[in-house]
Assembly symmetry: C2
Homo-oligomer: 121 residues x 2
Amino acid sequence: MSEPIIKSKKTQREINGIPTEVVCTEFSNYIFVVLTQFGKIGTLVSVTPDSRSNDISTTPFSTKVLLGKDEPMTHVCAKNLAMFVSQEAGNRSVLLGLALKDSSIDTIKEMKEVIKSCQVW
Amino acid sequence: MSEPIIKSKKTQREINGIPTEVVCTEFSNYIFVVLTQFGKIGTLVSVTPDSRSNDISTTPFSTKVLLGKDEPMTHVCAKNLAMFVSQEAGNRSVLLGLALKDSSIDTIKEMKEVIKSCQVW
């Protein structure tokens, strides 16, 4: 048997007083990131770099809610949290599970740091 | 900080000569199971117990392909692999990532054993 193909890391941290768990798992075609403040997998969103985009003024990422409530804020958070992961991971798509009590800008910023601490790509 | 909420186990085994990896992760509302023979997350399927079903002759589970190719065989495999997980996990839904080279009945049977060895529910 070769080395395990699937790499996974997880951590937990209090963000703004709320216990937050992060799990990052690397697949060859996807990075799977779960951010949960409820223990739930939450809303599942795919964030995909759009290779067809030639317009530099638009963000070349498309987001799609696969599971859960499809709200505008979810797409904003998902892009904000997952774009740097995709870019760092050689433009792989990101599958994101979001179950957040608090999605303020400061919290999202701190969450990006927590995701970085679970880097598997 | 309390105990981690998210429990996760993974293993790898050769099934019918093919290196196979399994990752099981427990969320409060979902069990997430990845079965991969390619290192990919593969086709993502949700398997949900159908609480409305009163007809005992039909299988009270609905399957939905969230990501990837929607083929009849995927639904069959997904039900076959995930139903016992859902039942054992108090009728939680199962989110299943399937990237299989071989989906023969014998292989599926053996995969169920591997999933059992990664029981997180």
